[in-house]
Structure formats: structure tokens, C-alpha cells
């Protein structure tokens, strides 16, 4: 085993690791040391902002600093982020708000201001791109980075570059990040979660198998509750079981996915850090203040979402051939309905037409808490809304939509509205 290197995350001093239970940095005396035999060799990182939305709220309003803060959609809806104070009460993200408030009645609930968070997210991402062009964003607040070959550029191994980056984010943006450093994406993603918040964790290639051994299979990407149950029934409750399994048997249980799972279970992951991920779908959804069962009330909401999706498709240069309607019932059951093979379109009216037909079949008195609309099977907008003999109106509809977009750009979103939105709130 090579001698472990120890990196001080405060002064960035890199030295051979000193023995002892609680080593401190020999240069500055800080206890925030990361020591690992492979520390200077690893280059794939996963960076995740700590309680991102809540941290920004606390940064912008210091009076919140030691209060439990939950960011989420009103009394209804779910927790999108909660601060670490709230987490001590058992609040978790994705928890329904009423449950969160049961657990932590004193929490300060803040409606998310996504635009503001996105701006901070972009600042963080810009700082990441200063380190390497290979930044693969996973969401607004996390990304994979591949720092291979950047040692000469930054004059330091990736571990040091990352520690410097984390310190810079804290200093310049006032939020904290956690870093996971590993030989591949899968392990890096797990590592970033180990030492949160303000963490820096390393999983090396040598210890990966031992580390994963006793972990539940749900830790593997792509394994949800259902797959986890199926694997457990087949005798694969832990990652170690999969790592030691006969590949043929795994394939019998998990199909084509079996071999991928085995590689991951052994700590191998050949996926590369892909800087530009292709957009596969564009969607928008909303959770209601109160459950809605009436179609006439759902439709105006659906229309607004369609406008949103259409505007985003237009902005990003997409058109679609399939529409997905998403509904969540009052008892949290998810329903998705898809219509595909549509003539390519970029128009809100066309999305709405398809979505409305799908919605009509679901409105059977069931109360819903959420509605969403998505555009999948994206294609070139040059093919969209050209019209044909059975659809002579498409070009006109398109120029109407273009005219409305131009008006809105000039005079604001509210300047032209469809009559249907007047039905809202009635």
C-alpha cells in the first residue's frame, strides 16, 4: 500500500499522512485533513451543494442562520430542500410539507425562488468550468467533473484543485459544497454524500469493493424500490452479493442490466463525464394548493404549463412528436399517459390539444394534487408545424404563436392571454 497523502482543506498543504488518531495539518494546525493512499491519483469528482436552496436563503437572510428552514411549495406540495437544522428534526427533501411540519412545527417555510437559485447555480458551474471543460451538470446544484490531465494547468493534483474550488465557492458565494473524489462517476457520487455538509470524501479503486460490500443494492444507480425488492427476493440484498454472483445468474434475474450491476458492484463504472447532455424531453409541472378533481379547473393550469413547455422548446430549438401527461392523485399515486407519433410541433396549442385529450380520460372524479406536461421524442423544429392537407391551420397557428411571443417579449408576459386562463381560480 502506498503511503497515504494528507491534504489540508484550509491551507491546501499536501504532505505524507502522519500517523495518529486525530492528525492536524502540520502547516496551519487545522483538523480538516483528507488522507488517502490514492488521493493524488484520483481525478473524477462529484460536487454537490449542501442544502442548496436553504443555504442560499440563509445566506441572504442571516436571521435564519440557526432556525430550521424548509424550502418548498406552501402548505401543500413537498419539501424541495431543508437546512441541516431542520434535518435534525427528521425533515427530508421530497417529504410532503404537512409531514415535514408535523415533524418540525417551528420551521420557517420559504417558497422556492428558482430563478435566484439558478443564478447561484450558474455561478457555481462557472467556477467548475474554470477547473475543467469536462463538467457534467446533473441538476442545478450538482455536477460531475473530470479533472484528468489538469495537473500541469493548475499546478496541483485534482484533489488540491477541488479543495481550492470548495474554499473559493465558500468565500465568494457564501454557500458550501461537498466533494466526492473517486476513480469513476458511480463512486464519486457515493463519496460526495459520505461527509456532508462541507465534506470531502475519497473512495479509492483499491477499497471500492470492500466499501460497497455490505451496502444495500439500492445504492446502485437505476435500482429503485421495485428492482431492489426483486433483487432481494433473488438473494441479492447487498452489493457484495452481486459482486460475487455468477454473471449468468444475474442476467437471469436482472436481464441485460445484470452485467452492468455486476460491474458497478465491483466498483467499476466506465461511463465518461459528458459535458453536454442532450436534452431528451422538456416538461413542466405544478402542485396545487388544494386537490382538484374537476376537469374545467385542471385545464387552465394545463394550458399554462403547455405555454411554458412550448416557450422553452422554442428557446432551446426543439420540437416534439410526443406528449406526456403526468398526474399525481390525492393519495400520491402517479399516473403518466403518453401520446406519441404526433406531427412534429412546437406549439402550445398542439401540446394542449393532446394533453387535454389524455386528461379527459383521467378525469373520472379522482382528485389530483399535481399536473405536469412533457414533450418527448424531440426533433428538428424545421419539421414542425408545416401543416398538410388534413391540417391546413398549422402554419397560421404557428405565425400566431410567433406573433404572441414577439408581443410578450416586448410588453411582458401578461399582454396577451388565452381566454381559458380567465377560468382559473373560479
Amino acid at each position: 500500500m502506498p503511503a497515504a497523502a494528507a491534504l489540508c482543506r484550509d491551507c491546501l498543504h499536501l504532505a505524507p499522512a502522519a500517523p495518529g488518531a486525530r492528525p492536524r495539518c502540520r502547516a496551519c494546525g487545522s483538523p480538516r485533513l483528507v488522507a488517502h493512499p490514492e488521493l493524488t491519483a484520483l481525478a473524477i469528482a462529484h460536487v454537490d451543494c449542501d442544502a442548496f436552496f436553504a443555504t442560499i436563503e440563509k445566506r441572504d437572510d442571516p436571521s435564519l442562520a440557526d432556525k430550521p428552514v424548509i424550502v418548498g411549495g406552501g402548505r401543500r406540495g413537498v419539501v424541495s430542500t431543508c437546512c441541516y437544522v431542520a434535518r435534525t428534526y427528521g425533515v427530508r427533501s421530497a417529504m410532503p410539507m404537512f409531514k415535514a411540519l408535523d415533524a418540525c412545527p417551528d420551521a420557517v417555510v420559504i417558497r422556492p425562488d428558482i430563478a435566484r437559485y439558478a443564478a447561484v447555480g450558474r455561478q457555481v458551474r462557472a467556477m467548475m468550468r474554470d477547473l475543467t471543460p469536462l463538467v457534467e451538470p446533473l441538476s442545478i446544484d450538482e455536477a460531475f467533473l473530470d479533472l484528468s490531465g489538469t495537473e500541469r494547468l493548475h499546478g496541483a493534483p485534482p484533489a488540491v484543485t477541488l479543495a481550492r474550488f470548495a474554499a473559493r465557492v465558500e468565500r465568494e458565494l457564501g454557500i458550501t459544497v461537498s466533494v466526492g473524489l473517486a476513480p469513476n462517476k458511480f463512486l464519486a457520487k457515493i463519496a460526495s454524500d459520505l461527509d456532508k455538509p462541507r465534506g470531502f470524501a475519497v473512495i479509492g479503486a483499491a477499497e471500492a469493493a470492500a466499501f460497497l460490500d455490505g451496502k444495500p443494492v439500492g445504492i446502485l444507480p437505476g435500482i429503485g424500490a421495485v428492482a431492489q425488492r426483486r433483487l432481494a427476493q433473488a438473494g441479492f440484498a447487498t452489493v457484495g452479493r452481486i459482486a460475487r454472483a455468477d454473471p449468468a445468474r444475474l442476467v437471469a434475474v436482472a436481464g441485460r442490466d445484470g452485467l452492468r450491476l455486476k460491474a458497478l458492484a465491483e466498483g467499476r463504472d466506465a461511463r465518461r463525464v459528458e459535458p453536454e447532455r442532450e436534452t431528451k424531453s422538456v416538461s413542466a409541472e405544478t402542485t396545487f394548493q388544494r386537490d382538484i378533481a374537476v376537469r374545467g379547473e385542471l385545464e387552465p393550469i394545463l394550458w399554462r404549463l403547455c405555454e411554458k413547455v412550448a416557450a422553452r422548446m422554442a428557446a432551446d430549438g426543439h420540437a416534439t412528436r410526443s406528449v406526456v401527461l403526468k398526474l399525481k392523485t390525492a393519495d400520491f399515486k402517479l399516473r403518466t399517459r403518453t401520446v406519441s407519433g404526433l406531427p412534429p410541433t412546437q406549439l402550445a396549442t398542439r401540446l394542449y390539444e393532446a394533453g387535454r385529450r389524455l386528461l379527459a380520460e383521467e378525469c373520472d372524479g379522482t382528485a389530483f394534487r399535481l399536473i405536469g406536461i412533457g414533450a418527448g421524442d424531440l426533433c428538428d423544429p424545421a419539421l414542425a408545424d408545416r401543416g398538410d392537407l388534413a391540417d391546413p391551420d398549422a402554419p397560421r397557428e404557428k405565425s400566431r404563436a410567433d406573433a404572441i411571443a414577439a408581443l410578450r417579449k416586448r410588453y411582458g408576459q401578461g399582454v396577451v392571454q388565452r381566454g381559458i386562463v380567465l377560468r382559473e381560480g373560479k
Binding site: 401520446v339 406519441s340 407519433g341 404526433l342 406531427p343 398538410d388 392537407l389 388534413a390 391540417d391 391546413p392
Partner: protein, 372 residues
């Protein structure tokens, strides 16, 4: 139930009804044909829940009764029996079997109870008119090829029949389109048809109706309700659900201002299109028409296999024009026209083209150009 029937008439009747039975149905009873012996004769009925075909044939009924047997099996059995044979069918109460005897052959078929057989309750028919088989055949034949198979625009998956005033007379009109081409045929409206609701008859029913009208016969009775159509040919009755949707306003896409007239020798032109399109086996390949004074140069370019051109003499006096069409669609349309010549009315390379036998002909076709 006990009944004896001539093999020939049973075969013909089974031939009519068994076609609507889906080969692979998830509902067992739908694989069966209903056999009912009663005083008028032997009634047969099959359905796929969208279409129902019934036929009654002369038979010697010893004991009335009804049961259901696998449609394709009984059809195949009767088909293989010798010409001129007599066939006896006997279902014996509880046993759940029907015995078919003919000469020295004996078949025992599993049955399902008659009471399980679905009835496509037709209900009240508000419109009723009679039409000659040849006339109905023309309407269907001329438009059927343009029916769309696209599922999302389900309202295009059939022929739209309606009555309309056209040049001072009421006509019964049939229209079909898949968005790329549109076919319109018409005939003077039969008595009783005027004011009928516009109906979309689904593709499968259209195909069955066409097979039945091809047999000729006496006047056909057509009856309509808002949701169903019933067509009666002598002893065969076909009932079908209609497509519940709104057919697009096709009149708007029929070009009226196309001023460039091109007249071709229909057969010569079709053959030339067929020849040049040989170079590309791919469906949907465009043939380019370079139209100039008195001449069309047809060309197909296939980067993989080569190219082809052919010149055809035509009547054309307007300014030169290059336009592309799907070769297949062009052939479909020219084969539906009746005259020696075909008239193309063009506007520009991006606009729909009108194709007819001649000016004012009752049947007309609209074709979207392709980019070439």
C-alpha cells in the same frame, strides 16, 4: 339445434362473415361465429366489436337453436368439403359441442354459449337510402387508397361520407386523406340521403363493404345513425361503428386558384413515372417533374443506385415549373382516374396540386408536393 344446409351456400356465407373475425383475439367469444337455426333458415353472425356481419341462408331446420363455434375452423372445414355436399350441424344441449357431418366426414367442434355472443345493438337508424352497387363501389374505390393509417389523427382512418350542394345538385360525396394526398369522389345524392349527417366509415368496414359490393347484386340499402352505419346487401347485413371525430374541413385545401394547366396522356405518363421510379426502391422517393413548353422531364435521383430521366410530351403553355411528387402517390392517383388524359392544375413547387380527369370532373385528387 339441428339443421342441414348446402355446402356451397354455407361456404359463401361463412366467407362473408368470417373475415371480420380477428385472427388473434384476446376475447375467446370473438373468435367464434354465431350459428342460429330458425324458421327463416340458418343465420350466421360474426363481430370484432366494431363491425358485425350477419347473413341468413336457406336451410332445412329440423330443430331450432343456436350456438357459437370457432369461425376460422368451421370456414376451413366447409371450404375443404367436396362440391355439392350437404352439411348437417347438430348441437346437443348441454355438452358444449357441435357436430358437423358431411358425407363420411364428422367434425366435433367446441362451442361457447350463444348468450355470451356480443350484440352490436344498432338501435334506431335515422337515415336510409338505396344505392346501386356499382355507384357505391366507385365512391369507395376512388377514395380508399388515401385513407390514413396514422393513429394519432384517428379521424383520418376512414372515408368521410356526406351530402353537399355542388353546382346546383345535391351530391353524396366521399373524401379521404392522409395529409399528403386527398381523394374526393361523388355521385348524385340518392333519395333519402339528403341532409344525412357527415359520417366517417372506418377503414376495415370500407374494405368489407368493397368486397361485398364487388359481388354486384341488387340495390344496396344504407342506413345511418349518429354512431353506426348499416349496409344491407341481399341477405348480408354489415353493421359498423363510425369513427367518432371531426373530419377536417377539406374544402379549404382543394386549390381553386391554380392557373398552370398540364394535360398528360394518363397511361403514358403513369408508365413513365413507374419506369423512372425503378431506380429507387425506397418508398417515398420523389420524382421531379421539370415542366416546360409542351414537355415534362421526369427524373429520379438516388445517390445510392443512380438516376433516371424520361421525357413525356404534354400540353402545357404556362411558365416553366419544377415540382416534385412522391412517385407512389402519383401512381395511386393516376390509376384511379378514368379518362385517357389527366389534368394537373399547378400553382408553384410548394403548393398542393389538383389532379382530375378533366375540368369539373366529379372525382378529384389533391397532392402535396415534395421538396426536390
Amino acid at each position: 339445434m339441428k339443421v342441414t344446409v348446402e355446402r356451397a351456400s354455407l361456404l359463401k356465407a361463412l366467407g362473408h362473415v368470417h373475415r371480420v373475425v380477428e385472427r388473434r383475439s384476446t376475447i375467446p367469444i370473438l373468435s367464434n361465429v354465431l350459428v342460429r337455426a330458425e324458421s327463416e333458415g340458418l343465420g350466421l353472425k360474426a363481430t370484432d366489436l366494431d363491425i358485425e356481419v350477419t347473413e341468413t341462408i336457406r336451410a332445412d331446420v329440423t330443430q331450432p337453436g343456436a350456438t357459437t363455434v370457432p369461425a376460422h375452423v368451421i370456414y376451413d372445414i366447409v371450404r375443404k368439403l367436396p362440391d355439392g355436399a350437404q352439411v348437417s350441424l347438430e348441437a346437443t344441449g348441454e355438452a358444449g359441442q357441435m357436430v358437423l357431418r358431411s358425407g363420411r366426414s364428422k367434425f366435433t367442434l367446441q362451442t361457447l354459449p350463444e348468450s355470451d355472443f356480443p350484440d352490436l345493438a344498432a338501435g334506431e337508424m335515422s337515415v336510409s337510402f338505396a344505392v346501386k352497387p356499382a355507384d357505391l363501389r366507385k365512391l369507395v374505390e376512388k377514395t380508399q387508397f388515401a385513407i390514413s393509417t396514422e393513429e394519432t389523427r384517428y379521424y383520418l382512418n376512414g372515408i368521410y361520407f356526406h351530402t353537399i350542394e355542388s353546382e346546383g345538385e345535391t351530391v353524396l360525396r366521399a373524401v379521404a386523406t392522409d395529409g399528403h394526398r386527398l381523394a374526393r369522389a361523388q355521385m348524385p345524392a340518392p333519395e333519402g340521403a339528403t341532409g344525412m349527417p357527415g359520417v366517417i366509415v372506418p377503414r376495415k368496414a370500407v374494405a368489407e363493404i368493397l368486397k361485398l359490393v364487388e359481388e354486384g347484386g341488387e340495390l344496396i340499402r344504407v342506413e345511418l345513425s349518429p354512431a353506426k352505419i348499416r349496409v344491407t346487401f341481399d341477405s348480408v347485413v354489415l353493421t359498423s361503428k363510425l369513427i367518432d371525430g371531426t373530419f377536417p374541413d377539406y374544402q379549404r385545401v382543394i386549390p381553386s386558384g391554380n392557373d398552370k394547366s398540364l394535360i398528360v396522356d394518363r397511361e403514358q405518363f403513369a408508365k413513365a413515372v413507374d419506369r423512372v421510379s425503378t431506380i429507387s426502391s425506397e418508398r417515398g422517393r420523389a420524382v421531379k417533374l421539370a415542366i416546360a413548353d409542351g414537355r415534362v422531364t421526369l427524373s429520379v435521383n438516388n445517390p445510392d443506385s443512380g438516376s433516371a430521366t424520361e421525357e413525356v410530351e404534354v400540353e402545357y403553355e404556362a411558365s416553366p415549373l419544377d415540382i416534385g411528387f412522391n412517385a407512389r402517390y402519383l401512381l395511386d392517383i393516376t390509376s384511379q382516374l378514368d379518362g385517357d388524359t389527366a389534368l394537373f392544375k399547378l400553382a408553384d413547387p410548394g403548393s398542393p396540386t389538383l389532379i382530375q380527369d378533366k375540368e369539373g370532373a366529379p372525382a378529384l385528387y389533391v397532392l402535396m408536393p415534395m421538396r426536390v
